[in-house]
Structure formats: C-alpha cells, structure tokens
Assembly symmetry: C2
Homo-oligomer: 825 residues x 2
C-alpha cells in the first residue's frame, strides 16, 4: 500500500506521439480482461478461467450484481491507466454508477492492488476463483463499490453525489485529477443536477481538477434515461450552460472495431488532458477567468460486449442489461451456453498465463505504485491525514464572573477560535454551509479568510468576503455542502458543516451513507481513520421566530442516534465556553459524525472555562450552584436539561423553586453529551446504571427539559432503574407564529410549567402547593397575553438572569443586553 | 370562495391590441399598492395608511419578514392578473421564493380574496391595520407563504420544490396555467436543478402548462446567487439545455421609467402566452414533438423600490435587502425617516380612498372570482377532490385455503387491484416512483396504462410501456416523485409513491413540510381536506440481498412517527390480503400521510380476505390458529410481530414451540397498524391501557419481532403496564453481504433466536430447557455454515411453511415455489 502521494504532477501536455498499435492492443486486452473478471464475479463459483468445460455447478445459485454499467467503467479505467502512466498524473476515480462494483474490483485486481490489500486473493487461478466466489456471496464483499474496494471513496448505494464528492476531493489538492464517472441514471437526481455548478467554486491554481465523464448508457432499471433521450444539441447546451466544454463520444452502436474505438477515445482523452494542462498553465500565468473545464459525454450501449439478445429479447443496449441479464443461467443447457459464449468472447486464454496470472505486457498498461487509481492514497484519506494545529481554546474563553454573569452568542465565540484554526491550517480545513456562516454567527472567520467563489464578481459594495480562494464554501444546496465535505474528509482533510437545524434533514440519507462508510471502515484494517464529520446546528427549532416558523423539526438527532453507537456523537453545549470545549474535542476526533446543536441568539454564560472543560469531560454533571441540595441527603426532585434553551428554563425554574419553596431539595443536572444517558452496554459513552442512579437517583422524580422530541430521552433511558420517574418536556410540534418564550410555553417547556411539573410529581407538594401551582398557571397566562398585545415577550421573562448575575447586574447591566433586535437570515 | 373551476380556457392568443396607457398605469398602481402593503406588513403596527405622521410607536417592536424577493413577486402577480383577465385563463401562482409571504398576502388582499376568506381583515383602514399587525406577530400569520395564504399550495419554508409542485398541479389539468416563480437561491438546490426536466414528462394535450419564471434578483442571505453570476449566454444555454425557450427580461438597474418597464413586460408576457397557445394548438392538430416550452428569466434588483442605501451601505440590489433591510427603524429619528420616505414613495393616497378601500379602477386589473389566482380552486384542492371509484378489493383476494397455504408477492396482488383503480379513475389517480414500479411488482398496472414520457422514443424493443400519456411517472429522483405527487394531491387528486425503503429518507425533509401543511390546514376552515399521501415501500431492508446491502435503514418510520399523530399512519401488512385491505383504506383516507411497508418477495399468505379485513379493521389482533393458548387461561408468553419478515419468523418460532414445548401457552399477536401500540391519549388509533393489557397482558413476557429499529416499539409502549416485560427484536444495522435468512439471524430476529428469547424470559423454562436452547444455538450455527458454503439459505429454513400448509403441500407443491430466482432491480 502506498502511503505517500505520487510525485508532483506538472500537468503535462501529452506525450506528443500518436498512440501506437501495441498500446491500442494492450488497451483492448485490459478491457477484455476487466470485463471477463466482471462477468466471472457475477456468475461463477468455480472453473474461473474456463480451463474445464463450463457446467451448471460452476454457476452461482443466486445471481446478484449489476452488469450494465460495468463495461463502460472498465473501458474508462483502462484508458485512464494509459494516460496516467504516460503523464505520471496522480488521479483518483469516482464511480458514480457505484453498482458497477464488479468493474472496480476487476480493475483493482488487474492493477495488482487487490492482491496487495487482500493477500488471499492471489494472482493466480485460485485467487481468481476466490475473487469470483466472494462477490456478493455470504461473508464476501458487497456487489457495489464499497469501502472494501481499493481506490474508492464513494459508496455505490444511493446515487447523486459523484460530482460533489469529486470536487470535495479536489479542493486543496492542486496536483490531483479526479475522474468522475456520472451515470445517466444518477444524472437525474437533484443533488447531481446541481453539483455541476461546483465548477464555479473550484480554484484553478489551488485546487485539483475534476473531469466529469457523463456515461450515457441510456437505461435505468426499466426505463430510458432522460439525458440519453434529448437531442445531442440540447445535451451540449446543458453542459455549456453548466459551464463546461463538452466532448461528445459515441461508440458501440455499429460495427466499428474495438481497436478503432480505443484509438478514437485515446486521442480524445489526450486532447482533454491537454486542455486541462493548458487551463492550469494559463492560471499559473495569471489568467483569472473561470475556465470552461472540459467534460466528456461517453455514449455506449448498456451492457456493452454482453449478449445482444437473450430469449429473443434485446439485452445489450437495453434496460434488460441493468443487473444480471442472464438471471436463469443454470436453468437450461441453452442458457448455460449463452453464458459460456459470452465468457469465451473475451478470449481469456490470451490474457492470463497457465498459472492464471495476467500477462506482463497487459499489466504494463497500468501505472506503478501510488499512481494506480486503486492505490492512490487520496482514496484512503486517513493515510494523508495531518492533525489540525489547534489553538488553545481556553484562550478564547468568555469571562463568566458568576453563573449567568455574561451574555454571548455562543457560535460567535466559537467563530473567534475557528478564525485561528483557519490561520493555523491554511490548506486542510474548510467550513461548508448553504448561505449561513455569517447568519450563524461565525463571521469572525472572515477576518482570516474569504468565501471561495469563481463565478463573476460585482465589487465590494455587494460582494461580502468573496474571493477566488478561501476556506469557506457556501452554496444554497445542503446536498452540495455535505457532499463536498464528505469528499474533503474522505481524502484526508478536516472540516465542518454549519446549517439550520431543520434543514439538515435534507441530507438525512447522505448522513446514512457516510455513517455506514465509517462503520464499515472501522473493520477494514487497511483503511486508515479519517477526521470526523462535524455539524454545527446553530439556528435551531426554539428560535424560529426569525424564520416564520417554517423551520421545524429537531429530529435530526433522532435520525443520527439510529446509527451504530461507534460512529455517532451528539452534543448540546449550553453556553459559549462549553461550545468551545466541545468543538475542540470534535475537531480532534476521528471516524465519528459529531452533531453539535448550539443556538446563535444572545444567551447567558453559566460556566467558566475551567468549569466548562470539567463539565464537557464528564459529559454531564450536577450544577451544585443551581440546586438546593442538602449534603448527604437525597434530593426531593431532579431537574435535568439538555440544550441551551432547556437549560435556561430549568435554571429559571430552579430560581423560582428556591424563592418559593426554600426547603425543597432540588438537584440540577446538565447534559452536554447526550449519549451519556444511554446504557454503557449500548454506547461507549453511556453511563453505568450505578453512575446513572448516583446522578438521577432511582426513585426521585426527574423533570427533564430536552431540546428535541421528548421520546428520545425515554429511548435513551428506558432501561434505567428510575425510568418510570422521568418526565420529559421537549419539542412537540406546536410551534406557530409567536415569540421565543411563547414558543417555549406552547411546548410546556417553560420555567412555569417545569415548576408545575415539580409540584405534580413530588408527592409532598401536590397536596400543599395548590397556591403556587395556580400562581404558575397565572404567570403563563400573563406572559401569553403580553405577547399577544405587544408582539414581544414579557421583559421580566425575556431578561431574566440567574440571581447571582442579577445581583451583579446592578453594576454591569448584563440583563439589558439580552434583548435582541432584528436578525438577518 | 369559488368552488368550481373557471370556465374552460381556449388557450387564446392575446387580445391583439397594444397594451394601452390606462392599463400600464393600472399595472403600476397595483404594483405600488402591493409593495406598500408588503412593507406595511413587515414594519407597521398602526397608522396603516400614514394618515397621521409616522411615529416610532407605529413600528413593530420586533421586525421579521423578507422584503428582498417581494417586489418582484408583486410585479409578476400584477402582470399575470392583467393577462388572466384579458384571456380568462385559469392560472395558479407557485411562489418558489416562499419567504416573500408579504407579497402574496398583499396580492390576495388586493384581489379581494383575503377579506372574503378572513372576514376580520376588511377592505378599509382598520382592515389594513389588522392585516399589518397579524403578519409574523404572535397569534397571527407566518412570515412565509403558508397554508393560511389564499391561493397557495406551496409552503414557503424549505426551498427546492417550486417546479415539481407546479408540474404536479399541471398533470391532468389541461386548461390550467401554472406560473411558477423560481428564486435564484432556490435554483441552486438539487431538487430544483433537476425539476426542470419535468418538461420531458408533461403531456401537451392532457396536462396543463407550467410557465417557469426564474427570478434573478441576484442575492441570498449573504451571497450572490450562482445563476446571476454567469454570463447571459451560459444561462441561456442552460435553459435551452433544460429543454426551454428562454426569454430574457432585465429591469430596474437603470433610469427606465416604471411605465416603460411595465410595457416591455406586458408585451413579453403576451408573447409568451401566445407561444403557449400555439404549442397547445399545434398539439391538438396532431403534432407530437416535444415543444420548447417558453420560460422567462426575470432579472431585477433585490428589494426593488426599497431604499438604495441605508447607513451608507448599498441595500436595494444587494444581499442586505434579503430580510428586513431597515432592522433598526425604531432606533433613531433618521432611521424612522428612511422608513417614512420609503413608505411614502408608493404614494398610497392615490391608491386607497379615504375609507382605506382600493380604488375600483386599480382593482379592475384583477380577474373576477375563481380566475383570481388567490381564489383559484385548484389552489384549495379539496374543493375539487372527487372520491376515487374503487373496485371492491375483496374480489382481488388471493386464495388462502389454510394459513401459509399459498404464496404471493403481495405488491403484485395489489398491482392487480391498482390496475382497475387506474381503469376506473383515468384522470385523477397517478403512481409515482423513481424507476421501480415494475421492480416493486406493480407491473400489472401496465395492462391498463403506460409510463408517461415525452422525451425521445426508441421503439418497443427497448421502451417498456412508455407512452406520451400514462398514469405512471418515473424519474430517478425521489425529490421529483414526492414533489410531483404533493402538487397533484394539493390540487385535489389522488396518488401514491412507490419507493425502496432505504431511499425514502431522501425526501425526509419534504415529508416534514407536507406533514406540516396537513397539520396546519386541519385548523383552517376554508382549506378543504385533500387525499392522503400514500407510500408503498416494498423493497425493504430485510431483503437487501438483491442490492448489495447498500440499501439500509428502516428509520423512515421513526421519522414519520415524530410528526403530529393526527396526520401520520404507519401500516405493516403481513401478507397479500392484508395489503389489499390496507391500501383500500389508504386510498379512501384524507389528510394523512400513510406509510405502508410490504415486501415484494414471494412469501406465504396467512389470512383469507375475510380474516384480513377483520384483522386490518382492528389494526392488530391475536392469531388464534398460530398460538397454543388454553381458553380462559393466561398465556405463558406472547409473541408479537409487526412486518412481513418478522411475522414469518414469529410463526416459524411458534411452530418450533408447538413441537418442542407442547404444553407452553403461546399467544401470537400480529400488528398491522403500528399506531395501535401507542397510548390512546397520544394517537387517535392508540389502544386504551385496558385493551393493551387484554392483548399483551401486563405481566407475561412479550417477545416482539419488529420490522424496523427496535426502540420504536419501546417508544410506542413505554407507558404500558407491562412495558418492562416487552423484549423487542428488530433491525440493528448489522447487515452485510449475506442471504435473507442469514440477514435475519445477524439481527437476532430469526425463529431460533426468538425461541431462545422465549426460553430466557419465561421463568419456568430457563432452568429446564437448556437442551432446547442449545439445539436452537446449533441450528443457527448450521444455517450460518450452510450459507457460507452454498451461497444460499438452508432449504428447510427457506422453504419452511406453516404446518397446516405443509400438510396441504404434499398435494400442491406450495413450498417449492418459495425459492426465488434472480430479480431485476
């Protein structure tokens, strides 16, 4: 396995010589070998090189896999190998049509990489037998391109992200070529359709080059594809409109010899690579114009080189070639004979020697070592991962003289630290977001960097921190942000995605795929750990007042928690210093998805940095200063909180309880790391039952205020001893047009209702505190009436601060700064 | 409110007369009125028509809303009104930039509709005051276009679906024009980027016309937009590539008078509408060519007519105009004066009479009654909804002589019924799916209809049931399928979306938005109920063997269950007859999202149709024939199942228990309607505690086999008396490359493990049945080893049938048909 990047490319123009006949022959031999190995994987259990007559028992009993896209993928791989070897151009291959797994496995095997990574898959007949048998076989490898596939950074399940991943890989890799094959099925998806516009963001000098190859094989499972069924001129217009210079290539629909086809494509590929080299050269010479990057439209029959007709039905060149075209190969001697003829058509004996080893001459088509696309270390990003140089987050702490004694927009504080993260890591850390880095209060970063943008500029009057190069990438497509970031991380860099909480559901299924990648790679020894994927959700559901209450649903956390505990982490830091500590932890971590939810509105700070570090290290803890416990005695009630708004309301409730019921022993617990609530047998961060009972007790009522849907807390704690005593207040989808505190009241998460919950659940209070209970009901009504009358929250509610801070506020006017004005988002 | 559609349009060409000066003046007056009312909504609490000097107290304390897109929306609305009135063309307006809520509310008010729908918002000064005050005010209306907005079918929260919704509305409404404004921010999203291709699916003769208007105002929250920063030629190429004829219109960047601008746009709009009329005419005359539908690129300054500079910063024509450009209007007299001048610039006294009523001459710009876009009944689809004519599903029943006595692919049986649903409802029922209607076994429908397709045709050899008109729409974009279906339903028709279970997460956030729409409209009296949105997920996570195990995650159910109980339903029919009964129920229902999960692989049928109807009516029930209870005695253990694969395994476990432990009293419960498990206080379908205890007992162990993530069952039942006795087996993300039964074993959901669970949880068995327990462990090992050796499941496991059926099988060979061959998907 190669652990260093290939030597620096000079983006050479071509060798200058015409492609000779020997090379063309070699290209065809390679292609035949790859196609043979692909068909073999799908169909054969034994007799791998047909050294014996093919029998029914040689064929797998269950035929699974996708043939249709595979020969095209193999063709392109062969030709890229030729060009890479000639130009010594570091290149990775993104397989958009990822169901073409057999092709990429075959190519990696021909490269020699497969046997290097998997020593039992040897370069001989027995190795090929094992290669075939393992494919989509119990205990073997998936039928799609997968983490197990050398050279891949791209799971072949859900379609749509080939180009986003490709550009993510290209950012900050100025010497890298990313050949991105896009299936015409995939091209119909929304995420792919917009990802073409990535070319307005990539920087010619500092970033690598993406070469999109749109593979028009014309069909999906049972339908034609849209882009294969519009006139050529329309398709060319579309590509021009996307900002590309399209090169149209058609082959396989007539009698043209394969050698002629190879010649035409080799010439085209050289032309395209020369165009790219010229664009690079021109940029180095100072040309700042956005180039018309070349792209290739590669139109071939689906299932090219397979049987034309099976049982009288057109197969090659139709949707019938999509998966296993000869699904009944074992049924009859006639069908078996179709398979035999198909396999024999590749003339495998000309390709492998008697031991089953690929002839050296064919192998010489491939480049060596790390220049092999299957062994390029960029496709095993952990190999290239450098630790971030992180400034000491403690130095960015906000001053918290007493709990609640200062006010911050937590992400703004984080932004100060991120500014220096960017300064210290100028080429391997990026921030992605739809359009919200400033709105989410990270605007400090623009002191150190800009938003990278390579479309037109209109001047500083209207272009806010736009530049041809910069660490922040913003496009109004959550799919793009996620895809770019995934590509960037998978190739060994670091980054984060800041997004509105409600809109992060847009990438639910992309998260699934990335989490699966992490889970699977944890068990693949040659895959090195990559940096975690970090979310910052700072415009959250409790402050929808700025967004017309269209931004609902805190359920991304629920979605994330469904995944393997080994790859997901969820943090809800309650203030600025805890956010700093949390994010430092996230940026140091590997192989996780970290979800951090932290509101951007001005809010009180509760913990000094020392307290914050200790609190975040524990992940949750008792806030002694907020409770009213008696040392050595059990509390009467536990108030728990996870999330910034819930924390504020719990503290305000604790304040009321102190004043109204001074003898009540209240414990206040704050949770930063949500997974701490879970059982230690379920999640590595989980508390043991003894620890949990020590905090929450096993028999006292727990009133728990939670940021998201309340049932998640029940789910995380249902096995706990005291679970039947836990009463959760959370988000209930009751939001409507209202003010922040009214929003909280609508969901019964407000301080007054929490006090009511305490009265209703502490047995000794229920009968004696009817008066206090009624007072709380009245307070809620008064608050509601005020919002309806004045369009704002009651000042005393809105500006409430923790009593210690209120004492200090006589001098510092802390409370006054809580009022918030308009907000541009 | 109009309850009938406007008279049939003849898609007239224009009036033929030049637009006269009076009309141009009226257009400008309308536009000024709409802009004034928009600014007023954002800023004013009182003094609505500035009849008094503007004071600080007239301004809202919290300023929320979006100005930037609004004047453009108002301009287009005014011009469409003119054209509609002239041509009597039924038209609805899709507001892609849905945050421009003030504009659509203002336009509906000027149309007169708003006061008709909301009688307290009168057409006088007091009505305008209320109109202003309610906007984004506690207890008022959202700041975005919302269900509360007359004329809207399109929630203005998450962006990306304007065109999909527009085409969904156009299908089967041949006389309807759908003017779809697309913001240039929205245009960057993936779903929008691919939705342009909808024009390859719409049928000229049978469907309505979508007129896309790309509103290039150039900026998002803090960034320029991509499409506003590419050369005009590139943008035109893009639109041509998408299959459109673009008309470029630029205004507002120079000194051109508003009258001249109105004249140019009015002429352009007439030209475009004439082109559309000509396309319609040509199609009626037999032209089958896909037309180049016109579209308009409408480039204007953002926040057009607002203050050019505020505090020295460029505002109009910049991102600063996006939301509330003058966020500090109350701060200083100077800022208040900016607002005053801005408001006064519209010369409101020329527009409204002394009572505050719009002058009749201006009002005459709008069409009458249902031709008003704000009152078009297509935008309140429930008004037009016709019940489906449903064939009696009982007649499509499969024969089930004994439980397990026949084998079906359940969706194939459903397909037979759907075929007749299509026959009986040729113009108001459609099936949407990415590419999988046949793969999902609904192929019978192609006996009655085709897949609608209006790109190129290549002949029957390769075009499988493609036709210019048909009831099935397939494009490889789940976003498109969902968006089309939503648009179709919201305009009063019926439909379903069939999709792979794992990929349905792609539309998680679209589901959120639609569920929110349903929830809100439940409380809007003038919004009539619409047909439910029905999913059929028939390629589910337990049968990933055909898909390389890339299709993971059954969590869509979890996502759905997070929404208001009043709008979501989840069904897991265990066999063909229950699926028929379930789907009949779904197609009759209103205002729900129905999620139906039913596997497509051959599987045994358990219930006769009479039993199925009874079972589905109850939603869950005891399967006496499967259990071994003793009448009048409590069972020793309850085996519960929800989902087809879990049902099969539970029955196989019950079979083992009967044989091995004939004295054990086993109760078998099957759950079709998942919401029955929930508390009746949480969900209208929920069981009371007494009912629940009657079924599941409060003290006996319950071994529950569930289709999805196990914790959902805990979440639904955590308040039940017997909850601590419920042990759930479900999906645990352990899938890898394997066979179906091995997949079940990996997740401990298999029959052998369920028996182990019984032994471990029934106290009397634990000590005495170590032998049986070991036997089960051995059976699992043997099954695992077989799959590793042969690539298939143990025949006796794979072909297991319920004993009654096994007895019958000697004659009928039922079991043999269970083996499945290759599967094209």
């Amino acid at each position: 396995m190669s652990t260093t990047t290939p030597a620096r490319s000079t983006w050479q123009t071509g060798s200058g010589v015409t492609i000779d006949d020997a090379t063309l022959a070699r290209l065809d031999q390679w292609w035949r070998a790859a196609n043979y190995l692909s068909v073999g994987q799908i169909y054969l259990l034994a007799n791998p090189l047909l050294r014996e007559p093919l029998t029914r028992d040689d064929v797998k009993p269950r035929l699974l896999g996708h043939w249709g896209t595979t020969p095209g993928l193999n063709f392109l791989y062969a030709h890229l190998n030729r060009a890479i070897a000639e130009r010594q151009q570091s290149t990775i291959y993104i397989t958009g049509p990822g169901h073409g797994g057999p092709g990429l496995v075959a190519s990696a095997y021909l490269d020699g990489t497969y046997s290097e990574y998997y020593s039992d898959i040897t370069e001989d007949t027995e190795g090929i037998r094992r290669l075939f048998r393992q494919f989509s076989f119990p205990g073997g490898i998936p039928s799609h391109v997968a983490p197990e596939t050398p050279g891949s950074i791209h799971e072949g399940g859900e379609l749509g992200y080939a180009l986003s991943h490709a550009y993510g890989a290209a950012f900050d890799n100025p010497d890298l070529l990313v050949a991105a094959v896009i299936g015409d099925g995939e091209a119909e998806t929304g995420p792919l359709a917009t990802s073409w516009h990535s070319n307005k963001f990539v920087n010619v000098e500092n970033d690598g080059v993406v070469l999109p190859i749109l593979h028009l094989n014309g069909y999906k499972i049972a339908n034609p594809t849209v882009l294969a069924r519009i006139p050529d001129e329309e398709l060319e217009s579309l590509m021009v409109g996307y900002g590309h210079k399209p090169h149209m290539f058609v082959a396989g629909f007539d009698d043209e010899s394969h050698v002629d086809i190879h010649r035409r494509f080799a010439i085209l590929l050289d032309e395209v690579l020369d165009e790219i080299a010229e664009i690079k050269r021109s940029a180095h010479a100072g040309n700042e114009q956005r180039p018309q990057w070349p792209m290739i439209v590669f139109r071939t029959p689906k299932g090219w080189t397979g049987p034309d007709y099976i049982d009288g039905k057109k197969t090659t060149g139709s949707w019938r070639a999509h998966q296993v075209p000869l699904a009944n190969a074992r049924d009859t001697p006639e069908h078996l004979d179709v398979l035999r003829q198909w396999l024999e058509s590749y003339r495998v004996n000309e390709l492998f020697d008697e031991t089953g080893r690929l002839h050296d001459d064919i192998r010489s088509l491939a480049p060596k070592g790390a220049l092999r696309m299957s062994d390029n270390p960029h496709a095993n990003g952990g190999l290239l991962l450098r630790d971030l140089r992180l400034p000491d987050f403690r130095e960015y702490a906000v001053d918290v003289p007493v709990p609640g004694g200062s006010i911050s927009e937590a992400p703004r504080v984080l932004g100060d630290w991120l500014t220096d993260v960017i300064r210290l890591n100028p080429d391997n850390f990026r921030i992605f977001g739809p359009d919200e880095t400033a709105s989410n209060r990270l605007q400090s970063v623009f002191q150190a960097t800009d938003k990278q943008w390579n479309a037109e500029f209109f001047g500083d009057d209207v272009d806010d921190h736009l530049a041809r190069a910069g660490r922040v990438l913003e496009m109004l497509s959550e799919h793009q942000c996620q895809g770019w970031l995934e590509g960037y991380l998978l190739t060994g860099r670091h980054g984060m995605f800041n997004c509105y909480e409600a809109f992060i559901h847009i990438i639910d299924s992309m998260f699934n795929q990335h989490a699966k990648w992490l889970k699977v790679t944890d068990d693949i020894p040659w895959r090195r750990p990559i940096a975690s994927l970090n979310y910052l959700l700072s415009s959250h559901v409790w402050r929808q007042d700025h967004n017309g209450f269209s931004h609902q649903d805190p359920g991304f956390i629920d979605h994330v928690v469904n995944k393997k505990a080994s790859v997901v982490r969820v943090y809800l830091p309650p203030d600025a210093n805890t956010l700093l500590s949390t994010y430092d932890h996230c940026l140091r971590s590997r192989q996780y998805v970290n979800v951090v939810v932290a509101g951007k509105q001005p809010a009180p700070n509760f913990l000094t940095m020392d307290q914050a570090v200790a609190h975040c290290t524990r992940g949750l803890g008792i806030w002694d200063w907020a409770g009213s416990e008696v040392p050595g005695e059990k509390p009467d009630v536990v108030l728990g909180a996870a999330g910034d708004v819930p924390t504020l309301e719990v503290l305000a409730a604790a304040d009321i309880l102190r004043r109204e019921l001074p003898d009540l022993k209240v414990r206040v617990i704050n949770v930063v790391d949500l997974m701490r609530l879970q059982d230690s047998r379920e999640h590595p961060h989980g508390l043991s039952d003894a620890q949990f009972d020590g905090l929450f007790t096993s028999d006292r009522p727990v009133i728990f205020a939670y940021h998201g849907y309340p049932w998640l807390i029940h789910r995380l704690t249902y096995r706990r001893n005291g679970h039947s005593n836990i009463h959760v207040r959370g988000y209930k989808e009751e939001g409507t047009t209202t003010t922040p505190f009214d929003m909280v009241m609508l969901n019964d998460l407000d301080r007054f209702h929490l006090v009511i919950d305490v009265i209703d659940n502490v047995p000794s209070l229920g009968s004696t505190q009817a008066g206090l209970r009624q007072k709380m009901v009245d307070e809620r009504l008064r608050a509601r009436e005020y919002t309806r009358a004045f369009g704002d929250d009651l000042p005393e509610v809105r500006d409430w601060v923790w009593p210690d801070a209120a004492d200090a506020a006589d001098e510092s006017q802390v409370a006054a700064t809580l009022s918030t004005g308009g907000d541009n988002e």
